[in-house]
């Protein structure tokens, strides 16, 4: 095999590889969970991506599907444009085509192994692109903030607030209390 043939085969092989990976990259989002109730803001695909994301991010004892439903509920209070941006961000996160260029991955996020998913999280966290970093932090913060609204997670961290209703009978009812 002369040099020219080698190069030709190499280039063709590279092209086949990229096309093949590109083919993998456009595989549809994998269904990783079934919603427990109707979604308000998240599109069905976004829901799947965020559940896959949450499963890697929140404590193992948290129910990732419940967490994502809570995020969905919180998003109902956001402006329409922010709701749309959140869905778009999850689409970007899932999409392997830019991932192929920037992270070297050939599959949508939902189809990656857990270890590869963690590598994607770190890629986004450490990215030189501000959009990726802040997008990753927005998803991470939303999942973790909603996860820790669940009291079941509190004993593991030692958080022990007063019981709900502990002070109800003690509330001052006078608007002038303390006024002088």
């Amino acid at each position: 095999m002369n040099r020219r043939t080698f190069l030709k085969r190499g280039l063709m092989g590279g092209a086949v590889l990229v096309l093949g990976m590109g083919g993998l990259a456009v595989l549809p989002t994998k269904d990783v969970a079934t919603p427990k109730r109707a979604l308000a803001v998240l599109e069905p695909r976004s829901f799947q991506v965020l559940v896959a994301f949450a499963k890697r991010v929140v404590p193992e004892t948290a129910d990732a599907v419940d967490v994502v439903h809570r995020v969905d509920d919180a998003l109902r209070l956001a402006p329409l444009e922010a709701q749309r941006d959140f869905n778009k961000l999850l689409g970007l996160f899932e999409n392997a085509l830019p991932g192929l260029l920037l992270d070297g991955r050939a599959l949508p996020f939902t189809r990656l192994s857990p270890e590869s998913q963690d590598a994607v999280l770190r890629h986004w966290r450490d990215s030189r692109l501000e959009l990726r970093r802040s997008g990753y932090q927005a998803l991470r913060r939303a999942c973790l903030a909603m996860a820790y609204q669940d009291e079941a997670l509190w004993p593991a961290i030692g958080y022990a607030p007063p019981p709900t209703g502990a002070f109800e009978a003690m509330a001052y009812d006078d608007s002038k209390a303390g006024a002088s």
Partner: protein, 519 residues
């Protein structure tokens, strides 16, 4: 005595979510019931004016304050606590309920520093009042809201560490004033005081206004003013469902002799912009941007017990050509801190696990006093919702880096064994000798560490130059619309260098008193 339960049941308190289309009239219509709106309403109603208050949020009371973020965040905070700046670089904590942010703030009460008022006079054409004019109003507000200085013996663990660490380093530090009556130290200020010890607008000035005959419609979102010549003719209002998420399809139209907008530093400029009122509207929005440091101690801190804020250091407030900052503590609530803590899965859990021995201290940058740290801008999204574009400039990042070093030094001085910035991935310091190396080696960029704000100021600046300001400083009246006033934190031409609630109360009381005299 005025029973809060009786105020809530007063027929003048109207739930917009169940209201039909209607047209209301008033002498004065006030949009927003936070620090600015509630004080203005009380003063004007007590002066005999027919006052109508509008509030986008719901009417929640101590019975609803369950001390659980899952219940409270969607009810009491703008966008359920997920509000952020345009590039997601800064998380915004702002109230959205009857009583506004005063219901969820941490009770810290400072008068506006005298030198700040002088700066406004000299640099921002604020000639309509002097510091001395504000003093009697601060006095009156402090009496009404039971504002008093914290006894050092009552500092909680988190504030004790701040106080002791600063003392050890020779930095100025003091206990601060709080607007509480017989505080039961629940630690839950940020989630709504469950015992009404916090003398927020919800339990003081709004009841005063209702007592004096004012009306309040809640779940009512002010959409736009309709202007005619140099007057606001009407205000168009959308009524929202019981959860405050969607319009009911019913509307309210208000005709009033005067209109006051008191929606705060994001919503007031947004209302003006939606009404086609522009000029300097939305510009110079200052936010006291905050970075935090976590100190891990051997002994118990319990950062969620006791008054969240009771000590502060202004040692670094005046740094000349560099941006100043002040140091306070942060309340520790699990959802808030989970969002702010670095890492994911096991790494994140490890950070959260030490809660009872964690001290969280914050550096609050004083923006608006340097040309390249002049605040952000509120604009409208296509839907009409506001968004704050707040670019963090290189000088501000430098300030954060410097401030983070000082926070770490203070935490080590007060006994911390380990200190972490909130960078993601985490940056760890094991001794004071690590501080410069670790902090200098950490990246200060959007998306690398969390930045917060709970103090929103500016966007409808007061001043006597119409090109640089929105309202006149003598009475906070719009420069050209003769019956439109802005009375809230949005009128400040800069940030304050102190927590803003009392500054808003005092200015609102002065201006409402002047307005009442012109009835």
């Amino acid at each position: 005595m005025t029973s809060l339960a009786a105020v809530r049941a007063n027929p003048h308190v109207i739930d917009g979510s169940t209201s039909a289309d209607q047209e209301l009239t008033a002498d004065v219509c006030i949009v927003g019931t936070g620090a600015g709106g509630a004080v203005t309403a009380a003063v004007l109603a007590e002066a005999g004016l027919d006052v109508l208050m509008l509030e986008e949020g719901g009417y929640y009371t101590a019975h609803d304050f369950t001390m659980r973020e899952k219940d409270v965040m969607p009810r009491l905070y703008q966008e359920g606590g997920l509000r952020a700046t345009k590039d997601l670089g800064v998380s915004i904590l702002q109230g959205r309920t009857v009583g506004g942010t005063t219901v969820v703030n941490w009770t810290t009460s400072f008068r506006t520093p005298e030198d700040v008022v002088a700066h406004w006079h000299d640099k921002h054409d604020v000639k309509g009042f002097a510091y001395a004019d504000l003093v009697p109003h601060y006095d009156a507000i402090e009496k009404r809201l039971a504002v008093s200085k914290v006894e050092e013996s009552t500092l909680n663990g988190n504030n004790r560490k701040l106080f002791d660490g600063c003392k050890k380093l020779g930095w100025a530090v003091d206990t601060l004033k709080r607007n509480v009556y017989a505080c039961m130290q629940t630690g839950m200020c940020g989630l709504g005081c469950p015992v009404n010890a916090k003398r927020s607008m919800l339990v003081t000035m709004i009841p005063d206004a209702i007592d004096a005959g004012a009306r309040l419609v809640f779940r009512a979102r002010a959409e736009r003013f309709e202007t005619s010549g140099n007057q606001v003719a009407k205000l168009h209002v959308t009524l929202l469902d019981a959860e405050g998420r969607a319009p009911t399809g019913k509307t309210l139209t208000v005709k009033a002799k005067r209109f006051v907008t008191s929606g705060g530093a994001i919503n007031s400029p947004a209302l003006l912009l939606r009404s086609g009122i522009d000029g300097a509207v939305g510009a110079r929005t200052c936010i006291h941007p905050v970075v935090a440091s976590a100190g891990f101690y051997d002994e118990d801190i319990f950062p969620y017990r006791g008054a969240p804020q009771s000590a502060a250091s202004h040692h670094f407030a005046h740094r000349g050509a560099d941006v100043g900052f002040f140091i306070e503590t942060a309340a520790w609530y699990p959802s808030l801190m989970a969002g702010a803590s670095p890492g994911f899965a096991g790494e994140h859990l490890a950070f959260m696990k030490n809660v009872n021995k964690t001290g969280v201290h914050v550096a609050i940058a004083i923006d608006g006093f340097h040309d390249d740290v002049a605040g952000g801008r509120v604009t409208l999204r296509p839907s009409g919702a506001p968004v704050l574009d707040y670019p963090i400039t290189p000088r501000l990042w430098q300030t954060f880096r410097f401030a983070q070093k000082r926070l770490a030094e203070m935490q080590f001085a007060s006994g911390a064994k380990t200190v972490k910035t909130l960078h993601d991935p985490e940056r760890v310091m094991s001794s004071p000798g690590d501080v410069d190396r670790v902090v200098d080696g950490a990246p200060y960029e959007v998306g690398r560490l969390p930045v917060f704000t709970a103090h929103l100021m500016g966007g409808c600046a007061m001043g006597d130059d119409p090109k640089r300001s929105v309202v006149r400083s003598e009475d906070l009246r719009h420069h050209t619309l003769e019956n439109l006033y802005v009375i809230d934190g949005s009128v400040f031409p800069t940030s304050l260098g102190v927590n803003p609630q009392e500054s808003i109360y005092g200015l609102a009381r002065l201006m409402a008193t002047r307005l009442a005299a012109r009835k």
